[in-house]
Subunit: 306 residues, 2 copies
């Protein structure tokens, strides 16, 4: 990616004014990335917490702090809504009337059906401006202080447009995420939620439950320091933000519970052969997982390796 060439080739990509509602890890990283690519003029930010806004200013993620979401969107060509999923509907309602007619309104929520439903409820004639998006680039460390201009490089960015989404704005969104180095994919909101229930939400749920099982037993505190590198990696996502994950697991509950049931059946199969002492069947079950994981390749390849 050579930013100046990209700007020259597709002048429509340049964003004279970006409004970021919710200056956390994703919002801050998006602003920094767009700036690093030379694709943005002014960045206006709003966050519920004044302290977050101060940090975002200090880190150069935003140029100016707005007093409200409504104030932030005035004159903005691109509005990025990067708040916890449960806060999305109220933000959409707050920005709707102040939105410029041709502005792109994009969210980055980790679940998409509920966000699209919220948009349908509150955006009305502005629904055409809305491009639902989900960059797959979280860290378990939330917050603006972990913002990183390279966060999206080589990582998937999923767009889940609906029938009303303006095709020009959709192409613009694709171009922007591509310019930030992301691998853009389109999915329906439903397929998105099923996919990420499987590859992200369920692993988080299992890691949380596993860690609680450790902490909840009498000898847990003696056991924990004995964890090695396998334990460290397996539990890394258990440190994720409680509010963010409360929202994800509850808004996508149907798909998460479906995946959890599939997992329970797979675990049943293991317990059955372990209990029965069927070594050959046990080795066979492990081999499926071991070979599957050894051949696994993520989209974009960035997370490849051990």
């Amino acid at each position: 990616m050579t930013p100046p060439a990209a700007v020259t080739d597709t002048p429509a990509l340049y964003v004279p004014r970006l409004a970021v509602i919710g200056c956390g890890l994703i919002g801050g990283s998006f602003a920094l990335a767009l700036r690093a690519a030379g694709l943005v003029g002014e960045v206006v930010g709003h966050s519920a917490s004044p302290r977050t806004l101060e940090k975002a200013l200090a880190l150069g993620a935003i140029d100016r702090a707005a007093e409200s979401s409504a104030a932030a969107v005035a004159g903005a060509h691109l509005v990025l809504v990067s708040v916890p999923v449960s806060a999305t509907e109220s933000v959409l309602r707050a920005v709707r009337d102040g939105l410029e007619p041709e502005a792109m309104l994009m969210d980055v929520g980790s679940t998409k059906r509920d966000v699209v439903d919220a948009a349908r409820r509150v955006l009305r004639d502005r629904l055409r401006n809305f491009v639902p998006a989900h960059p797959i680039a979280g860290k378990e460390m939330a917050g603006i202080s972990h913002a990183d201009a390279r966060l999206f490089q080589g990582r998937p960015a999923i767009l889940t447009p609906i029938a009303q989404t303006d095709p020009g704005l959709l192409r613009g969104a694709e171009a922007i995420w591509s310019a930030l180095g992301a691998q853009v994919r389109q999915m329906s909101p439903e397929n998105h939620d099923a996919t990420f229930a499987a590859v992200s939400h369920l692993p988080h749920l299992l890691a949380f439950a596993y860690f609680n099982a450790m902490l909840g037993q009498p000898a847990g505190q003696d056991y924990l320091p004995m964890g090695g590198s396998g334990f460290r990696d397996f539990t890394r996502i258990a440190a994720s933000d409680p509010q963010v994950w409360r929202d994800i697991l509850s808004t996508n509950r149907e798909e998460v519970l479906k995946q959890c049931l599939r997992f329970r059946h797979a675990l049943d199969a293991f317990e059955h052969v372990i209990r029965g002492g069927n070594l050959e069947a046990l080795e066979g079950l492990i081999r499926v997982a071991s070979e599957g994981r050894s051949h696994w390749q993520p989209l974009g390849g960035k997370t490849a390796g051990r």
Copy 2:
């Protein structure tokens, strides 16, 4: 650690001849580490696979290949048994009669009760020579080609002596693991198996079952490439060696199933609040895990970090 000084300070630490039965990741790394520390004269190796023995010779992990375990132990001051747990009993039987009177016989199996039971069955008057050990230093990549002289540095090495273990040999084993940079701890075989069922065996079981649940569903192949860094780390141990883990999960089945039950109860609690839409309780459960994991510190600190 300054090897020459260590040798000077504790001359008894020097091992004129080491026999390694099973030249895989752990056996090979132990030989390389002892050599790097200047603590070994000759290394004789035996493995069931001629190809493994060739690789071990080529990598300089062993100086000489022996045709059998019995042949390998003749004249050896330290015999390291680093074979899959299920093969330990037959190796102990094979080496018993050829063992030098003062030799240290040490295994490195990931479960300890079954190994101690096997030793009691077959070692008879040589039980005093036996020091059961477990260095916590696996990688999910098994085999001599991944052997690494620094594998044990900063990592726990658990010794699980029994009543018959010679106190001098036990001190010797402590000194050797310490000289290789390991953090030595003593535990009973029972406590060892309970501890590692919790922090290692259960996570492996869950990762295997999770991966199989992914592979076993119609859309699994579409879902898998969408996994991000959380997925990558959570599933890393699912790539572990099927034979090694068949042995571990089956020999420690009682403790593993106990831990699995605790995990299921923790998962039940999550599913209950997710299904009931109790956001406050869900956030509370996640917070326990999140704070617990954020404060987690491994023994020795080597695996600290994300």
